[in-house]
Amino acid sequence: MSIFVDENTRVCVQGITGRDGAFHTKGMIEYGTKVVAGVTPGKGGQVADGIPVFDTMKDAVEKTGANASILFVPARFAAGAVTEAAEAGVDVVVAISEGVPTLEVSKIYQKLERLGTRMIGPNCPGIISPGKCKLGIMPGWIHREGGIGVVSRSGTLTYEVVDQLGRYGLGQSTVIGIGGDPIIGTNFIDSLAAYQEDPQTEAVVLIGEIGGTDEEQAAEFVKENMTKPVVSFIAGRTAPPGKRMGHAGAIIAGGKGTAAEKIEALTAVGVPVADRPSEIPGLIKEALGS
């Protein structure tokens, strides 16, 4: 098992003929992901890296049975591309694009809810179920199959944590970068709920950061619904208030959204919070009693 994507995930790449699209399509195919189609309007009928290209998502889904998509399109076209994928009937759409206007994400989120499509991102590295499917831009080779779920608002910090886990022989069930924007399609709670149900997942690492109250809500969810151990790391203990720290969502506003508040909320429900990423494997081993 694993969550959201697995060996049955059939991927369509939106923007497959672009520079980033072509580069990462190659990376996904090399990893073993079943990339079955690509979409670039006006380039239908071409073949890119052995993958048939279609003009529309509808065509791609009908002709290839794609059930997931990942988009490499400029931010200003991302909302339209996500909507097209959802209307074509895919189950999961990964929006890597950084810089999608927040109100557009808000609008498409409501639509995706109705259509029953899961969006991961925007502004995220994607999702990987090691050994089964890489639907994203992460370096595949640092991952190994195993029992740890990792869910994170960050990209490279997630790689750092996965790398640390690997050094201690802790493989992963599914690693999700949910994205650094204020409004995202899949949040901590959605992911935690899925990990709790997933037989492969034995424990979860939750990587949060300053801004918003998603970590506090996740803590509440852990308390009420999780029997599997969860350990955490929160980035931004030293971040000054009022400054946006790179991610659109990473800002301490009106004294709210500090790392201290999040660490307190998580600790209060029995989730140990690491001081540094390198402490995470130890906390996981402790939680699993191994």
């Binding site: 109100l103 990209g155 946006r244 001081d275």
Partner: protein, 379 residues
């Protein structure tokens, strides 16, 4: 992006939100002229990007043009929380019967635009939220449908009981929605919304933040950026697509990814050091970005050591290494540099810096520990 009160009012006026007449002055003489034009009692208001202008003495009532000139003289050039006042607004001082609060944000939890309205306007809304939270009414709008007249009226009725006035407040709420969505705001705050004794409705103060991600489709708003609030370093960083925040420590950081950049700062603190900055070189790194990043960091005289922490995903380690070599060729960096490059193309990257003076490290902990130690050593 933060914009000034007068800019927010310009945007709102474009959507027919009722705004008291105002003019902008950069000299006391201009302020006098503006007060004469308005021909009534005016308020002289400092235009700076911080809250608490009133408490700092940056907002004054003026009964006559003489007084307006005098107040403008005192407020222009004033320092409010580290920012110098360069412009004042001279605004018609409308008569006040009641003061309400209307705010809007894009809410992370409901993922929708959310109104917050309160009959307790004119004071700090965070204080109201702490002391009398029952006085704040929240309402989430379905962004696909927009706000209906019925919804606006229902919301207005929560703060205004007189039916005729409530209708005007509802109209105000509807127009504010159009302005919010139309300008891709991330926050809009009208505090106070004033009801005059003759039952007219006015946005007496207005604050708006605009979603940076949407500025590409609002050229006129993007042009409102106040260059005076931006240091040369910040400007260069923004133009190069780097996220940069200046801090007070002495370990300069170049990192890829916002989460890892924040974590690097935290780990520096863990080892007893202090970060000089937050700097994210972003995803698709080019050698140019690394050169610019190093130039920005070395322009800070506090910096005593530089830490480069890269975990390559989209970012290719060899690109970063190339940038590093270029930067060292183009500039005369004498500070010690600790480099940790892991991930995509790390093997290729290892070949590049050969022959140059770096301290290399395999893990983040090791790299940070070395950089902190080097910052402590006397130069």
């Amino acid at each position: 992006m933060k914009i000034h009160e007068y800019q927010a009012k310009d945007i709102l006026r474009g959507y027919d939100v009722p705004i008291p007449r105002f003019e902008i002055a950069t000299t006391p003489a201009e302020a006098r002229k503006a007060a004469e034009d308005i021909g009534r009692m005016v308020v002289v208001k400092a235009q700076v990007h911080v809250g608490g202008r009133g408490k700092a003495g940056g907002v004054k009532l003026a009964k006559t043009p003489d007084e307006a000139e005098k107040h403008a003289g005192a407020i222009l050039g004033m320092d409010i929380k580290g920012l110098t006042v360069e412009k004042v607004m001279i605004s018609d001082a409308v008569d006040i019967d009641r003061e309400y609060y209307i705010g809007m944000i894009v809410d992370r939890a409901t993922k929708k635009p959310v109104y917050m309205v309160s009959e307790a306007g004119g004071i700090d809304i965070e204080q109201v939220a702490r002391e009398t939270p029952e006085k704040i009414h929240k309402y989430a709008v379905d962004p696909e449908k927009g706000l209906s007249n019925e919804e606006a009226l229902e919301l207005a009725a929560k703060i205004e009981s007189r039916p005729a006035v409530a209708e005007r407040v509802a109209d105000f709420i509807s127009k504010l929605y159009e302005a919010f969505v139309g300008s891709d705001a991330s926050l809009a705050e009208i505090n106070p919304l004033v009801i005059t004794p003759d039952e007219q409705v006015w946005a007496v103060d207005a604050k708006m933040n605009i979603d940076d991600n949407a500025l590409y489709r609002h050229e006129e708003i993007a042009a409102m950026r106040d260059a005076s609030t931006e240091t040369p370093q910040l400007k260069r960083a923004r133009e190069m697509g780097l996220s940069f925040v200046k801090l007070d420590g002495d370990v300069g950081c170049v990192v890829n990814g916002a989460g890892l950049a924040m974590t690097t700062m935290d780990v520096i603190a863990h080892y007893g050091g202090e970060p000089a900055n937050f700097l994210d070189i972003g995803g698709s790194s080019s050698p140019d970005k690394v050169v610019t990043a190093l130039q920005i960091i070395t322009s800070d005289p506090n910096v005593k050591s530089i830490l480069i922490n890269i975990f390559g995903g989209i970012t290719r380690c060899d690109d970063v290494a190339k940038g590093l070599v270029q930067a060292l060729e183009q500039t005369s960096i004498t500070l010690p540099i600790v480099v940790r490059l892991t991930g995509t193309n790390e093997e290729e990257a290892r070949k590049i810096p050969a022959g140059t003076e770096f301290v290399s490290a395999d893990t983040m902990d090791e790299a940070v520990e070395k950089a902190v130690e080097l910052a402590r050593q006397p130069a």
